[in-house]
């Protein structure tokens, strides 16, 4: 019974995926039906999730839920729902609609499962579930050669990283005879001392870390991101930039805090934290610097999302309760603003037929609300108050300053946010300061769903930025 309670949402999503596949096979033209099923599944999963809140936290040997898990799971399901909405408005996804939806739901199910995993075997399983679904989805739109190239790169790199992760797990098992967090935590896993888990175990742990870094696009393992993001259908790019990344970082933080709770304060002194700190700085800096010169909106957002992952990684490194919640808060804000930005990009690309940055030109004069929304998303990504992005950054900075020793990471982070403002403002510059682009949206193309999604996300970005109390109560308290 516990297991059902634990896995309710995953089961629903997985089952819905299977149903969708069946419908797609039998009645490939029933698009509306398939859309409906996917929404129903997402809503049902949400209901189960919220319902589970009232119960006591459930746990088995391998799976467990706690307050943070709930928040991250909520994020996954919301992300799925937004992606569904965006996908409906993307005409490039014309074939295999049911398969597309099914894969999306599978990936989400994998995400949910990953969050609950408290054993490396489950971690690997769920990671693979996400990955395999993603490989196909990235390659969904194969019109151009470069799209195939991007998808292939993503597949090979992803497979490779999975292999590394699996190898790492096997090394850990070889060294300790354990795969569950609980047991490993007691052995001082995250203190990463050769003395406690042996050189082999340490090597395994680092390989797992690298594997996580791939999934979360942490530099220097980020290079697949721009190509893959550019190749994938835009709604799925948005999904890819948010859900797997936040989930990977979330479980990573769980893994560290898990052992931190057993090991006490030693984690700060001799843990993986210094490495993570350096990785975080590197990720932010590389992401931001590379974003400056991008001319393609999707590549631009790809680099921006690398930088954002860097900020979130800061939350991992303090391995405190505040650190965990900071990733969650940041992740939630990131969900709203990054999906928002992608949605506007999708809108502009459809309206003006190009992903070039210059297609943003003069948007403020032709569609002021849309431009204003985009400006808000970008400023939120840059961490300017009163948007939710600021709250996330505040949390992250607070978590690292609380830890004291790593305050310099905060300094690097704020310097980076100044740089990031520069390129985010470049988009704003095109939208507000340039004259309108030649082509504008043709009247008959209705993008009501897309527009309303944008404004719903905008409302979230602003409202939770200004009054985050309900959100925080839901996620953290």
């Amino acid at each position: 019974m516990d297991l059902v309670k634990l896995l309710g949402a995953e089961v629903i999503l997985g089952a819905a995926g299977l149903i969708l596949l069946t419908i797609d096979f039998c009645w490939p033209r029933r698009r509306a039906l398939m859309t409906g099923v996917s929404y129903m599944a997402a809503i049902a999963a949400l209901a189960v999730l919220v319902g589970a809140l009232s119960h006591e936290a459930a746990a088995s040997a391998f799976l467990s839920t706690d307050a943070l898990t709930f928040g991250f799971s909520l994020l996954v399901i919301l992300g799925t729902m937004i992606t569904l909405a965006l996908s409906q408005e993307d005409p490039t996804i014309d074939r295999h609609w049911g398969s597309y939806l099914a894969l999306l739901l599978f990936a989400s199910a994998g995400g949910l499962l990953l969050l609950k995993a408290r054993d490396f075997v489950y971690v690997f399983l769920s990671l693979e579930l996400i990955s395999i679904a993603s490989f196909i989805l990235v390659a969904f739109d194969r019109k151009e050669l470069w799209m195939i190239e991007g998808a292939l790169k993503y597949f090979l790199v992803g497979a490779f990283s999975s292999a590394i992760g699996l190898y790492g797990i096997s090394l850990i098992y070889a060294a300790t005879g354990q795969t569950s967090f609980d047991a490993l935590g007691l052995m001082g896993l995250s203190s990463a001392r050769a003395s406690s888990i042996g050189w082999i175990g340490l090597g395994g742990l680092l390989m797992v870390l690298v594997s996580f870094c791939f999934k979360a696009s942490i530099a220097p393992f980020h290079f697949w991101v721009p190509d893959a993001y550019q190749a994938a259908p835009t709604p799925f790019t948005a999904y890819l930039s948010v859900v797997p990344k936040v989930v990977a970082l979330g479980i990573f933080s769980v893994l560290l805090s898990f052992s931190a709770s057993n090991m006490g304060p030693s984690i700060q002194a001799a843990s993986l934290a210094p490495i993570i700190a350096v990785l975080a700085c590197l990720t932010m800096t590389i992401g931001n610097l590379s974003a400056i010169h991008q001319t393609d909106l999707k590549r631009f957002l790809a680099y921006s999302s690398i930088a954002q992952a860097g900020y979130m990684l800061i939350g991992v490194l303090s391995a405190s309760r505040l650190g965990g919640s900071s990733i969650l808060v940041y992740g939630f804000g990131y969900l709203l603003m990054n999906f928002g930005a992608f949605a506007v990009v999708q809108w502009v690309a459809r309206a003006r037929g190009s992903y070039e940055i210059s297609s943003m030109s003069g948007l403020a004069q032709t569609h002021f609300p849309m431009a204003l929304a985009m400006a808000c998303f970008l400023l939120s990504l840059a961490g300017i108050p009163p948007f939710i992005g600021f709250l996330g950054k505040y949390y992250v900075f607070a978590s690292v300053i609380e830890s004291q020793w790593a305050w310099w990471v905060a300094v690097v982070a704020v310097l980076n946010s100044v740089i990031s403002v520069y390129y985010y403002l470049r988009i704003v510059y095109y939208m507000f300061f340039s004259d309108p682009f030649g082509r504008t949206v043709s009247k008959e193309v209705s993008m009501a769903l897309l527009s309303s999604t944008v404004f719903l996300l905008l409302a979230g970005t602003v409202a939770f930025g200004v009054y985050p109390r309900p959100l925080l109560r839901l996620l953290i308290e």
Binding site: E149, L152, K153, L156, V157, F160, S161, I164, A192, L202, G203, L206, M207, L209, V210, P220, F221, F223, W224, P226, A270, P274, I275, V278, T285, I286, N288, L289, S290, A291, I292, H293, Q294, I419, Y422
Partner: protein, 645 residues
């Protein structure tokens, strides 16, 4: 009652300023009627005050104040402080202002900015009265600056003339330079005492509150302000240029009142100056040097107003020296008499300029026939200024020279006596060249005529006062009662009659020499000029003082340009934008690495493979191979890092 309403002396002219400025054109005489009426009232009032003070009907000193504003625990008051000197100054200011305004009715007739002229005039008078009345150093300083503003506005009244515009700026900046010292002096005083109130400061000084060092610093700094405003060496350079303004303005501001403000201030704060004798020595030397140098410079100009300007500078130096050697009673008496005859001289010069349409004395001559009233009054002015018995100048100068002799300060005494001779010489030169001899410019002479009554009447009044004032006011019962403070010198007992004789001889010989050169032409002035043209040019060049200050101005412009260049190129473009472009370069590098190194690592891979002897085909999947190599590199790096910790 009479005293309680004294602030109105300040407020009435002040309030008429905006009225005349904005609504002047609808008022009688375009607003001049109002300001003249106000001034007449003020003069009558002041005169009544003076009479009352002399008759003992009112008790002086009198002070009265209300709070102006407060900060910290301090309160700055707005109030009046009346003593004999103040009351006299009130009379002088209101009288000269009244006469000048009447005079201007004729002089400024038809000017397109007639109302504005009168509004400035009344604003000036208000500020000057405020300065005189103030019981508080800060208010005094405020009014001090305001008269400076009016001077600026009035010198540049005909601002279409570039010279006038330039001169007005020069006057403002030069006096402001002195005022910096004044301001710092105020800081010193306030930091030391916590008050600006003159009566309180007087109390403190009497109680020995001031250490000699503080007293010296504060008085010398305050004196800087006086040096600017009262045109002492080396800050006098603005006053000759200030003659670009309308002549009545010169008479009122740059002869009788504003320029005397410095002298007035030193007299009023004499209690501070006398604490440390060094301060008085400095004041005395600067005053005497000013008197002498300006008198020398007064020998050469062709412009009648310039001569008078140098003469004013010289006489102001005289007053300062008088203050230093004899105290307020001695120095300020000359201030009062000088106000009369110098205003007279300027107005007379204005009358001449009005008739001849030129300032050049070499184009005048023989005007005594055409302009008898102007001639007689101007001659009285010259005699008074030269210090001929029994005109007012004689009495006031005599006091100063007497005090100088008594003080035993020989350098100052000698300078003052020489100045006396020089003054008589250059004034007589003007008198002779303008009014006597033959007309050198027949055409201008032909058009010349006596000025209208509105202009001659003030001349007559001022001439009469210049004659009788010294006689009436000197001595213990009148002036001594009004301004009792006088320095006593222990060792000096030079008999008064001796000084009187000596000064008369000196003045008369100066006059005689001028007559000899310019009237009888015993010596050819042109030849002398040619013979000593180095000296002549040196004097004409204001002894290089102008160039000295100009060099500073140029230096500051150069410095400004250099700093602005530095600010833009080094600080802004270099440092700030340099950071920005550095970041952009970094980003370019980072992107380049991403695009070429990482994406094209395959080439490197291929190159390594070649080197290893095997060829690898460059394929799409080759890209990924390179990634994997890169991954392995990354992992190894992290391993290495971990080992290191």
């Amino acid at each position: 009652m009479m005293l309680d309403l004294v602030p109105l002396l300040f407020f009435l002219p002040l309030l008429s300023f905006p009225v005349v400025l904005f609504f002047g054109r609808w008022l009688p005489l375009k607003g001049a009627g109002l300001t003249i009426a106000v001034m007449a009232g003020c003069f009558a009032w002041s005169l009544a005050l003076l009479a009352a003070a002399l008759l003992g009907a009112v008790e002086l000193p009198y002070s009265f104040s209300i709070s102006w504003f407060s900060f910290d625990i301090y309160d700055v008051a707005l109030g009046v402080y009346l003593d004999g000197l103040t009351v006299t100054m009130l009379c002088v200011v209101t009288l000269v202002s009244l006469l000048v305004q009447i005079y201007s009715l004729g002089y400024m007739q038809g000017d397109s900015r007639f109302s504005r002229y009168y509004s400035y005039m009344t604003l000036f008078t208000a500020s000057m009265l405020g300065l005189v009345l103030a019981d508080n150093m800060l208010v005094l300083f405020a009014c001090w600056e305001l008269v400076g503003l009016c001077s600026y506005l009035l010198i540049g009244f005909w601002f279409e003339k570039p010279e006038a515009a330039q001169a007005s700026r020069k006057a403002f900046i030069t006096t402001k330079l002195g005022d910096l010292g004044f301001a710092i002096g105020l800081y010193v005083i306030f930091t030391h005492t916590g008050t600006f109130s003159i009566p309180s400061l007087q109390e403190m000084a009497r109680a020995g509150f001031f250490a000699p060092g503080v007293a010296l610093w504060s008085s010398l700094l305050l004196f800087c302000g006086a040096m600017g405003k009262s045109a002492q060496v080396p800050l006098f350079v603005w006053l000759p240029d200030a003659m670009e303004g309308p002549t009545p303005v010169s008479a009122l501001i740059h002869a009788a009142t504003m320029v005397a403000a410095g002298v007035f201030m030193v007299a009023k704060l004499f209690f501070l100056f006398e604490i440390n004798p060094t301060a008085l020595i400095v004041v005395g030397f600067i005053g005497a040097a000013t008197a002498f140098l300006a008198a020398l410079m007064g020998l050469v100009p062709e412009d009648i107003k310039r001569v008078l300007a140098y003469s004013t500078v010289s006489q102001l130096g005289y007053m300062m020296a008088g203050l230093a050697v004899g105290g307020p009673q001695v120095g300020s008496f000359h201030l009062v008499t000088h106000a009369m005859f110098k205003a007279l001289l300027f107005l007379g010069a204005g009358s001449v300029i009005h008739a001849m349409h030129t300032n050049d004395i070499w184009k005048m001559g023989a005007l005594s026939v055409r302009m008898p009233i102007t001639f007689v009054t101007f001659a009285i002015g010259v005699l008074a200024l030269s210090g001929i018995f029994p005109l007012s100048g004689f009495y006031s100068k005599d006091e100063i020279l007497h005090a100088a002799l008594n003080s035993g300060n020989w350098p100052v005494t000698i300078l003052l006596f020489s100045t006396s001779a020089l003054t008589a010489f250059y004034m007589t030169r003007v008198l002779v060249l303008v009014f006597l001899g033959s007309a050198r410019d027949r055409e201008r002479y032909g058009h010349s005529h006596e000025s209208p009554a509105s202009m001659t009447a003030p001349l007559v009044i001022l001439a009469a006062l210049s004659v009788v004032m010294g006689f009436l006011m000197h001595g213990e019962h009148v002036w001594g009662k009004l301004v009792p403070h006088k320095l006593e010198h222990e060792h000096g007992h030079v008999p008064a009659i001796l000084v009187a004789l000596l000064s008369s001889v000196v003045a008369l010989s100066g006059m005689a020499a001028a007559f000899g050169v310019y009237f009888y032409r015993w010596i050819d002035a042109a030849k002398v000029k040619e013979r000593f043209d180095v000296i002549w040019l040196f004097l004409y060049d204001r002894m290089g003082f102008d160039r000295f200050w100009l060099a500073w101005v140029k230096l500051s412009y150069k410095l400004a340009d250099a700093l602005a260049w530095l600010d833009y190129h080094a600080l802004d473009q270099g440092l700030v934008d340099g950071q920005g472009s550095l970041t952009r370069q970094l980003s370019r590098a980072s992107e380049w690495i991403d695009r070429y190194i990482i994406d094209n690592l395959v080439d490197l891979w291929g190159w390594i493979s070649l080197w290893a002897g095997s060829r690898v085909r460059v394929t799409v999947s080759g890209f990924v191979q390179s990634y994997l190599l890169y991954v392995i590199l990354g992992i190894s790096l992290i391993f290495a890092a971990r080992m290191y910790f």
